[in-house]
Amino acid sequence: MDEKEVREKLRSYITRELIRDESYRLTDDEGIVTGGLMDSFSLAEFAVYVESEFGVYIPDSDLTVARMNTLDQMVARVMQDMK
């Protein structure tokens, strides 16, 4: 799976399941957590999704605003451990 595919899958999941507004146009570099669109629980849900969908385990200590605030950061973190 290439980066583009991962990015679109994550974008779709976040808008559908976490923001719960599929019409929302989520950009690559907007602050999803700092913008109030996701919270700590959403990050945990995101981690569970990433693990089931891509087989990538993200440690709890990486589920922070500093490391998971934008779609770009999330994609980079998933790609880091994708084989």
Binding site: I19, D21, F41, A44, E51, Y57, P59, L63
Partner: protein, 525 residues
């Protein structure tokens, strides 16, 4: 940490920067932190407990380091691996971090090979230095009480040496007895042991019972036993740092640490008594960079000194002034009858708490800067936050982050993957309440702290339900600046008062007195 200790730490930083050879800076922080563990311990009535408790803490730290050691790292591996039979690690055979991730690279020293029986020489030297410091502190008993540095008379040095030999032999025996126990289980056992010790020392009935037993052993009056006898300074912070390293070792994300790095991280003297709760991988980055630090860096010293002065002003001027009857306490809570008077006391308490704790944090961060270690921030304008969630992202940040990493996220993830999966509502409620109860009980295992934790757990749960349902509407306010300003102001008012009312539980140990205060605040008498 009193004013004298702060001044000594700051003055010593000048000598550290000006005179100490760069290669000894790590050693200086290690030795200074070990000595500070004893010096910062207040006088305790039970004979020798003011010496025994810090010593027990140091031995617990050494045992935790031993359990978190990654033998692969000592053989030259580049990253710590998750333990194979770990619940998390078993699902993820691949390393959790990229080997190129510098946060997780082992110390260069760890690649140097072994000393005795697989233990690097440097760790053995550190262990000997630690024992020498422990024994050395006991010699302070021969110094005049005015110059003794420690608040209570230490035991005889010979008794200390014998006790350490017995404990060392017991440790070796325990290791042999448990050699078939997996590292994962050993780590879990240590986490449980630390949690149990925490409960015993923080729960009044248990601490009193322990005090009674110790008083009986030392031939002191058992009727005077109380929780105050066991004021184990720094243990709350040490316990959470140890659990962080033990748990991170289980999941394979703990960097390889030498004994000296580990001990210094856990008891680093500026943050020993009042935090912040740093993370090991962040701390060692600074620690390993100490030899390259400029000795007398005017910018660093000015920055550190400014931060200390700000902290001193917050703590000793603002907070201590508010504490002189202008903030809620157990005495005035029972005397004030008017709602306005009680609200003023409550606002005073909220400000006192913030300036007291925030001041200590500034001082700790400032001293850390002087020594070349940048501790994490703990506060970020918490009383200006407009939601309870953002309040907890800006109040005691390192504690709430710890709770998020080790309680909230693992619990949420475990419940989300459970079959059958509970409803999202139940998962959020359980995760929020459990996390906040842990934070509450960390302050003391007592009913008032439990209620304070529940108060915030429920607040976070309600806020999440609200924000999930109004997110679209809230975004729509971006097109209506005046309405948005009004809404933000209202949100701030509600958040601030929810937090302030929560402090009633926190401030007063007696729940019936808290209920009386709520009655007065809302005009019910």
């Amino acid at each position: 940490m009193n004013l004298a200790a702060i001044l000594v730490f700051a003055a010593a930083a000048c000598l550290y920067g000006a005179l100490l050879p760069a290669r000894f800076r790590g050693w200086a922080l290690f030795a200074g932190s070990v000595i500070a563990v004893y010096v910062l311990q207040p006088a305790l009535p039970i004979r020798y407990s003011a010496y025994a408790l810090p010593t027990a803490m140091l031995l617990l730290i050494v045992a935790s380091w031993w359990l978190t050691r990654d033998s692969n790292a000592h053989a030259g591996a580049t990253t710590s691996q998750p333990l194979n039979d770990d619940v998390v690690g078993a699902q993820h055979a691949a390393p959790l971090q990229s080997p190129n991730d510098e946060r997780y690279s082992p110390s260069p020293r760890l690649r140097e090979g072994s000393g005795v029986r697989g233990i690097p020489r440097d760790d053995l030297v550190t262990l000997m230095a630690l024992v020498a410091l422990m024994v050395g502190v006991s010699f302070l008993r021969f110094i005049d009480v005015d110059f003794r540095l420690v608040a209570s008379t230490p035991p005889e040095p010979l008794a200390v040496v014998l006790a350490l030999l017995v404990i060392g032999a017991a440790g070796v025996g325990l290791r042999l007895a448990l050699r078939r126990v997996s590292q994962r289980r050993a780590l879990t056992g240590m986490i449980l042991l630390i949690a149990a010790a925490f409960v015993v020392f923080k729960a009044e009935p248990l601490a009193t019972a322990l005090s009674r037993a110790l008083r009986f052993q030392t031939g002191q009056d058992t009727t005077l036993a109380s929780i105050a006898d066991l004021g184990w300074v720094g243990f709350s912070y040490v316990a959470f740092r140890l659990i962080h390293t033990l748990r991170d070792r289980q999941t394979g994300i703990l960097p390889a640490l030498s004994l000296r790095e580990y001990v210094t991280y856990v008891i680093f003297f500026p943050s020993f008594t009042a935090g912040p709760i740093d993370r090991a991988e962040r701390f060692v980055e600074d620690y390993r960079a100490l030899p390259g630090l400029r000795g007398l860096d005017a910018e660093r010293f000015a920055g550190g000194a400014a931060r200390i002065l700000i902290g001193l002003f917050k703590k000793f001027v603002i907070a201590d002034t508010l504490a002189l009857g202008l903030a809620l306490n157990v005495i005035n809570a029972g005397q004030v009858e008017s709602p306005l008077g009680m609200w003023l006391l409550l606002y005073g308490y909220a400000l006192r708490l913030y300036f007291d704790f925030g001041g200590y944090t500034d001082i700790a961060i400032g001293i850390g800067i002087l020594y070349g270690v940048t501790l994490p921030e703990n506060f970020s304008r918490p009383y200006l936050r407009t939601t309870i969630t953002s309040f907890w992202q800006s109040w005691h940040i390192t504690l709430s982050s710890w709770a998020r990493f080790y309680v909230f996220s693992p619990l949420s993830r475990a419940l989300l993957t459970r079959k059958p999966k509970p409803s999202a509502l139940v998962i959020v409620l359980l995760a929020q309440v459990t996390t906040m109860v842990v934070i509450g009980l960390w302050h003391g295992v007592a009913l008032n702290f439990l209620l304070w934790g529940l108060w915030h757990g429920v607040g976070l749960f309600v806020h999440k339900q609200w924000s999930d349902r109004t997110r679209k509407w809230y975004r729509g306010l971006n097109d209506q600046p005046a309405r948005k300003r009004l809404w933000v102001g209202f949100s701030w008012f509600v958040t601030f008062h929810y937090v302030v009312l929560g402090w009633v539980w926190f401030a007063l140990p007696d729940v019936s007195q808290s209920l009386r205060v709520f009655g007065v605040l809302f005009g019910g008498g």
